[in-house]
Symmetry: C2
DNA sequence: ATAAAAAATCAAAGCGGTTTCAAAATCTTT
DNA sequence: AAAGATTTTGAAACCGCTTTGATTTTTTAT
């Protein structure tokens, strides 16, 4: 059943039917009711392809996900971010288009999406420092929202971000307050912008207390259990091992815990751990009683916010750039305790 | 730059240009070369919206992901499956459309995708026993491939699945061979079809050795760290605790390990654990030396295979239904050892 | 009752491609 | 060199909707 057929059944022109269905005012109320009823009865749904061609709008949003090429790692926050964003799209009649593309080859994908007219806007993921994608997107003139900010980019753009620096500053200060003096940082990949900001927070906290950051206590790698394990393991094997860790994710933290226990120590008693918790649905940090002390900010919420921001931006590009900085909460769990007395 | 403009620049009709670009034979080779060159030079990409309307094909595949409503849990295998499938779509000029929808409300989404003509086919995720979605999709006449089979469905349909029963049979037999007699099963949600198959494998192994499965040693819940921890913790607190576990996922296994260690025991020495490993990119089971002994089958591969199968099915619906049963490998890790001598 | 204004409806032209059918150009054959 | 066959190109219809610019109908004012 298409518009023309429906119009015929009603003895009306497609024009009037289209207007009635789209809520234009210049339609007689009685006529509109008649049309609405018929549309429902015949289960009429306008063809998306035709709407898109006629209006020039794609009614779709693109998410371009980079995959870390060297080890094919997908960012685990992906699923929850998408879940949040998808909620918003669904409620607004937008489709979500997903491209999974090799790290660094995103620009071509954006260009493609644009020239094919496949999307009205995109969400940018996994921002790197000096990320050249921002310039690409601006140049292409696609409305976009970045999940995370990029240091070193001049010019303004829309973003949603967590206050990573502040979260890690607080986490580190929390450990310092507990008397820990050697604190390991198990951070994400060095080229990721958020990792830099997190390190800055960590360093600032140390320096603020007159401590000198020790490079051997800072690791950068994928935020996986294995990488977390390796980093912590290495640090614990040092002559002057840390008594506490700040880890960049739940998974990293789980790796750190394994390393701690592998050294015959107990997390929360011998070694403290504080993580950044993205509140991933399948990686809950306990429930009533959190396993890890954490700075917490929901990725799913970030997805919702970013999606809504993008839709706003598509509706009115002049309203941008828009920004939203989310603060992480500090959650007390079982993984932190006072620093052990010096031996 | 659209087709008409490009044709004008070349002093040709849109017809010829379209044919040349789409590889039709009735175009002079010289003309074709000229057209190809111009298309490249002007960076011409046909408008997807127009192609879709003109051809009636969406050139897009839908993935409808249910979210467990009660706790909003996304299936963690999601990201890697998508990564695999996305590769195939990208290579074939297809877009991937994602809908994240509440558990149980998928039928409406399928109907919507169909009537809007938004996709040419769909991939079905998270299959439940007696899954009514299969009938819905057949009735709608959308080509589809199911990731997982559904018990209790009469009639044939296309699927890609892992031999879950066999994997759990082997895992359980492996533990039995090591002398374990009380083996806990930390399984996925009871309404998930694969969980039933896995339990069958587990039960068959026990029964095959003359053992009687103990219901108190079988748990069903989300495959999260926390749920794994809880289930194992409960079993370990029993009067006659298990000396080994079979866990449904890497995350469950990590929870089981935490429970074991919480009881002052050591995994691999006091209690053995064997997991099902989906080879998620961000949850690698060690590298050279696996942490967990596991039955292993790559979800990303499954995504690739399912996507390719769906494209084949779209190209020639009569070629189906197609099936592909993947076998899981048994991988030796550090989490299993001989059963401790009875005290 | 009639002219002017307002409201409701419609015909037709897009949107940017594909595809059918006809026409033009080139090649064979005699 | 003419007729017929084959290649190559093009005009126009179409996909299913939106939207512009009439046109018709109804209402209001004189």
């Amino acid at each position: 059943m298409n518009l023309k057929e429906l119009a015929q059944k009603l003895n009306l022109s497609p024009t009037t039917v289209s207007r009635a269905l789209n809520g234009y005012p210049e339609v007689n109320d009685a006529t509109r009711d008649r049309i609405m009823a018929a549309a429902k009865r015949y289960n009429y749904r306008p063809n998306t392809r035709a709407i898109r061609l006629a209006t020039g709008r794609a009614m779709a949003v693109g998410h371009v996900f980079p995959v870390a090429t060297k080890n094919e790692i997908m960012n685990p926050i992906f699923a929850d971010f998408i879940a949040g964003a998808g909620e918003v799209y669904g409620a607004n009649g937008y489709d979500m288009l997903l491209s999974v593309v090799a790290d660094g080859a995103e620009a071509a994908t954006y260009r493609d999406l644009k020239s094919r007219g496949a999307v009205d806007g995109v969400i940018m993921h996994a921002v790197r420092t000096f990320d050249e994608r921002i310039a690409t997107l601006q140049e292409l003139g696609i409305p976009f929202v970045s999940h995370g900010r990029a240091t070193g980019i001049e010019g303004d753009y829309s973003w949603v971000d967590v206050n990573n620096r502040r979260a890690f500053l607080r986490a580190t200060e929390f450990l310092l307050d507990l008397g820990h003096l050697r604190i390991g940082l198990v951070n994400g990949r060095e080229d990721m912008d958020f990792a830099i900001r997190r390190r800055t927070g960590y360093v600032d906290a140390l320096v603020g207390r007159g401590l000198v950051p020790d490079p051997s206590l800072m690791a950068n790698d994928e935020m996986t259990e294995l990488a977390g394990y390796r980093a912590a393991n290495r640090m614990l094997a040092e002559a002057n091992p840390p008594t506490a860790f700040v880890a960049a994710s739940m998974l990293s933290g789980m790796g750190v815990r394994r390393a701690i226990e592998g050294h015959g120590l107990k997390m929360g008693r011998d070694v403290s751990v504080i993580i950044f918790d993205d509140e991933l649905s399948y990686l809950r940090n306990g429930d009533d009683l959190p396993i890890f002390t954490a700075t917490r900010s929901s990725v799913r919420d970030a997805g919702r916010i970013a999606a809504q921001m993008l839709l706003d931006l598509i509706a009115d590009p002049a309203s941008g750039p828009l920004h939203r900085l989310l603060e992480a909460d500090l959650i007390l769990g079982q993984s932190t305790g006072p620093a052990p007395r010096a031996a």
